[in-house]
Symmetry: none
Subunit: 206 residues, 4 copies
């Protein structure tokens, strides 16, 4: 172990192939979900679109549900990366600036793949993935709460958990509805919405 040859740790070919297959499957599932809807997302069809056999699908995913879960996971992870970064970036900013930034990020995050976002929002509750999804929800609540506690002095007296609930619900709803209403996606409109939401939230906290 210690004398491992200095050669590049080249992952063996098969590992790469596996990875490619898995990716193709998740990607195919997402594409079908978006373009054809949940009903059309049969395992056979997914495999076909992924350019893979059904057998291979089941080599990597124990069930159809697992595939959907992977899509959800991937999407949520993408969003959470943006969100986590935003909170890091905002940690020391005063409320007004922080909220403005977070609202912007929320809307942007919902933009990442709006159609997929919509489909997942609809399908998630069905599959038993509530737990995982709620984990993300909890994480967000925690991030908000932490921020609020750090900036307690800038705000009126307020239960942090409650305040977090109010803020998250509000910001998320507006971001969500904004994305759902294709009409509101003009750059100008987004700017207005960010302003308004910031006002709404900051007004509430102060």
């Amino acid at each position: 172990m210690a004398r491992k040859p200095p050669t590049t740790p080249r992952k063996n070919a098969s590992q790469e192939r596996s990875r490619a297959t898995v990716d193709a499957l998740v990607e195919a599932t997402a594409r079908i979900l978006v373009k054809e809807g949940f009903e059309k997302a049969s395992t056979n069809h997914i495999a076909e679109i992924a350019g893979v056999s059904v057998g291979s699908l089941y080599q990597y995913f124990p069930s159809k549900e697992a595939l959907v879960a992977a899509v959800i996971e991937r999407h949520n992870e993408e969003i959470m990366n943006v969100v986590r970064a935003a909170f890091a970036e905002v940690a020391d900013l005063p409320i007004e600036k922080a909220v403005r930034r977070l609202v912007t990020v929320a809307i942007e995050a919902h933009h990442i793949d709006p159609n997929l976002h919509r489909v997942l929002a609809e399908q998630i509750p069905r599959s038993g993935h509530l737990a995982e999804v709620e984990a993300y929800s909890h994480e967000i609540h925690a991030l908000v709460r932490t921020y609020l506690e750090r900036h307690r002095k800038e705000m009126r007296k307020l239960d942090p958990a409650l305040a977090a609930f109010m803020c998250v619900s509000t910001i998320e709803a507006i971001a969500h509805n904004t994305v759902l209403n294709g009409e509101m996606l003009s750059e100008k409109m987004v700017k207005v919405l960010v302003d308004e939401t910031t006002r709404l939230v900051v007004g509430y906290l102060k």
Copy 2:
């Protein structure tokens, strides 16, 4: 009941029976959706629970989708009745009082049949009835907007459509999340949430 006039213009028997059958079917669908989940809501099962034959089901509903649509319709109509009444009741109240009342009603409305509400929220998008549901959404926006325009003088200058969007999104989200979080349904907690939401919205409008 006893003094019912003996000459009731009883709609011909078959018409009454039809009505009863339709009701039984819609009711059975709703019950199954709530108690057994969407997966178990097969037409055969629905017919069975409704105490009717599958054939009869298809006599009254051209497809399974039509049945689900009817359930959605019924549920939304129930909610909208409450909501419309609330707006009528609130039309002349000052903002603070009106908002408080509307928030309360929103949470109550989400309570009407929380499980059904949840299931429908999940299934609606899938069943292509978004359009109809959006009609209700539009109606609500219109009601809010109308109220806001009537009370323009009590508020800062604000685009009514925009304000309506903000208010509806916010109130609905909080009501929705409140119901989803079984934990928040204590009477005391609801009171707090009403207070907070009112403050949030009123603060924004003023």
Copy 3:
């Protein structure tokens, strides 16, 4: 209810149809088992041979296993009818005569549908039908034991359960092997086998 019309209690048509469908399915299963083997007995194929849709198959049998069970049941019942009748007929005969008759019947019973018998003998253990099959086995043991106890005086002293075990094992094995060896099925040969088996068993009991 009391004044039920005197008309013949004609089973309604659908009941007859159901019965016909069920019969066709069981028969088709048996035929396939015999002619094509267990592997080929897929539900779709069974339905096809029965001239019925798969859907109908599942209307009457909850699973493939249930169908096989029905075939087994039917076959066993056929055999047991013969066997029960034989025991009734033989109850008061002296050992020698009784054994001769029972051996004859055993071989005849294995003849009822030799190919099916063979296939089932092979398949039965697989499916969890051991219980039911063992019930028949128990019944036979009980019948033998009862006979032996009634005729105790004609025999040497012997534990009835043990004697029943020996007799049943022996007679059944010979009947079974006789049927499996197509060669032994000449009328003459059967006669010899009956003689020999009777001698074997009676010699043991006396």
Copy 4:
């Protein structure tokens, strides 16, 4: 082991490895058949348990059936070794002693691996290996017949083939049923059964 000659003519390494692989595969198949049942005996699973890749499995066995055949072969060979030895040992003993010994051996042989025995008894017919198994059956019949012919003088007049058929059927059935009935496996019970079966057979032959 220690004094093994240093110049062991070790078969070239690959040959030894082959042998080991083949053994591992047959062993794995047997184990799975016994512990997990026929349904679970997929080639992939067998390979896995054998610690070998599926590819290798197909290097040594052209099909799954071939593997099962090998297991059957191995088991039967094991049993036949015992049986052949018994016949050799018994060749010159008088009927009574011989039969007693053979019955004992038959029960013992069925004990060698009762679970495997049971599974194979179920699966053999399905896997088209009846022919090979029947070869063993023939061998046993021949052994019995040979013994009987050598001891003709101790017996009444009797067709040797017929007598062999009767004896083999009887002894085998009792041994088989004894093993199937776990309850009968007490040492005491086995003793009784050997006594009884011996009496049954000897009584028949004399």
